[in-house]
Subunit: 353 residues, 2 copies
């Protein structure tokens, strides 16, 4: 269903990465690991956000062929670079070792430091390189938009939304960090983090991104919000489940990663609310401990399951998804976009990766 | 000489910071420390880059009054936010404790974690908040440009330059980190870092930033390059001297900060080239050691001075500055801008801060 836009997204990424590799090599050969690492980082990915932008563009009546579609997909591919920034910085903040089945960027540069017998502290070098690679990705995202061939009017509509989306993303990231450092757990606050970190950033704003390029009406934007917000929250709740129960083979991250990092999510907040004193003691003893063992992860999974938290989260996902699909009936969303939006809703909430 | 543009820059910053404070508080009250910290971070600063943009704008024939000037200064104020991103991330990468006489951003958030008896590791919280505040600043810089009131044509000229400038900045930062991790020291490589980190980013590109808004010719851009590149290198060399010999009272950073951080600069590369074996032993024993004492900093300063490195750097600064001032004679730079450019050249190279 998405093979044509997917191909365009992959081609755009490939061309762009080749170009920045060339540009960086002209500055200095020492920048080679930087372009190599961003290229390898972006080699895989679900491309969810550009595909949501594509569907939003169709929803607002954008033509499904021609130069305008091509330019829109180019601009929307910038969302993969923005997401790369978010993930690279996020892994550093969380102290994650793995991403997409490979070492996280800061670990990659730590190894690079080690293998090249460099001077000083490898951890600090890895940290520095990961901060800078994230900064690069944020700037490259802009460059891709600016070079996408969009008209002045399209850019004028898009750029304020792009700024807003990025501010919401970083605000969501901060609230997430803040929540994980909070002494109390709260389902309500965890839902707010989910709303900003993913609800808006992952789905609603990419839909608007595409819709604004097509010249959407306020009614269409509102209809897409009604579809995107609950779906984005459902997406994040699925992420929370995968972070605790996901299979490392498919997620590309270690089992129970969120438990090791002590991430406060709706899932853990619901579990904490329902723990017995004895379960709470087990939880507090292991949750968020960097040296947590495989057995302790199993134990935490067991007690989270015992109090029914995963089922509650599954029920929430179902409610949110059905409320999104209900919103999809709006007359302000073009009929030809609905099969795409429906398919994306399934991909976002039923995934194992 | 710069009181009118300075006032406009300060007013723009104040209004913008008030607006983002309001916007963030609407998302969540928990974002208050974020807006408070960026506001306090930007309260002081030399405003060099917006002032260079102003001079570049005049150099290319921009009118020294009216709405166009006002819009240009608004857009140029974004350079202060970009610089905030660079400094916040830089301090984290260098492990610096102080900036502008106050705790560095990551230290501020470490203290915040401590004072609020938060959960988890305060260092990781400080790191996360500083990464995110830098990301915010990079995005806010874009927002300020997008909202500055520049015309479509002005934006179309400016945005590619803005992307290029930021890529050069991050590339320079990476080369700097890479150089400090190199096992050998090289005057040539240190000069290249100085060129990208400051030569282009601090002076040449801000000049172009303003010039392009005024609609500059290729000849004017080249003339500004001939002025800006040597001056920017001189600026960075002054920075290197201040990083080792600067007075903490005026720099707002601890004495000998670059020695503690093991920063490889043209100054240290020149010193290393000329050390006796005994001096090299002293240098290697203390340079880049986090627990360096005040006495050891004095000792390092003494041997760097003994081999004549500061005088060599002063001579380089003088040569570079006079080559910049020579380039200022170009007929492609408007006459009325020359007193401004001349004054900025002095401010950039004679400063104690």
């Amino acid at each position: 269903m998405f093979s044509a836009p997917r191909l365009e997204i992959e081609t755009t990424l490939k061309d762009f990465l080749e170009r920045i590799t060339r540009d960086l090599s002209e500055i200095s050969a020492e920048l080679t690991p930087v372009s190599a690492e961003i290229t390898s980082f972006l080699a895989t990915g679900k491309r969810f956000r550009p595909l949501f932008a594509y569907a939003g563009y169709l929803a607002a009546g954008g033509q499904n062929d021609g130069a305008q579609l091509k330019n829109m997909l180019k601009a929307a591919t910038s969302l993969e670079l923005l997401q790369a920034c978010a993930l690279i910085h996020d892994d550093l903040m969380d102290g994650s070792d793995m991403r997409r089945g490979a070492p996280a960027v800061h670990r990659y540069f730590e190894n690079y430091h080690l293998e090249n017998s460099m001077r000083g502290d490898k951890t600090q070098f890895g940290l520095s390189a990961a901060i800078l690679l994230g900064d690069f990705a944020l700037i490259w995202a802009d460059k891709l938009i600016n070079e996408s061939g969009l008209s002045d009017e399209q850019l004028r509509r898009l750029l304020p939304l792009n700024d807003l989306m990025r501010i919401e993303l970083i605000a969501g990231q901060y609230l997430d960090v803040r929540e994980s450092a909070a002494t109390t757990s709260s389902v309500e606050r965890a839902l707010k983090v989910a709303r900003y970190k993913s609800g808006k950033y992952t789905i609603e704003r990419p839909l608007h991104f595409g819709a604004l390029i097509a010249g959407s009406s306020d009614e269409t934007n509102s209809a897409l919000t009604n579809f995107g917000i609950p779906l984005g929250e459902a997406f994040q709740l699925r992420d929370d489940l995968l972070g605790v129960f996901g299979d490392p083979e498919t997620t590309g991250k270690p089992a129970g990663d969120d438990l090791r990092e002590g991430k406060r999510t709706v899932l853990t907040a619901l579990a904490i609310e329902n723990f017995s004193t004895q379960q709470a003691d087990i939880f507090n003893a292991h949750y968020g401990k960097l040296n947590i063992t495989t057995e302790q992860i199993s134990e935490l999974r067991d007690i989270i399951t015992e109090v029914g938290a995963p089922q509650k989260v599954e029920a929430l996902i179902e409610d949110l998804t059905s409320s999104a699909l209900q919103a999809l009936k709006s007359e302000h969303i073009s009929e030809n976009s609905k099969p795409y939006l429906n398919e994306l809703a399934l991909m976002a909430t039923k995934r194992k990766i």
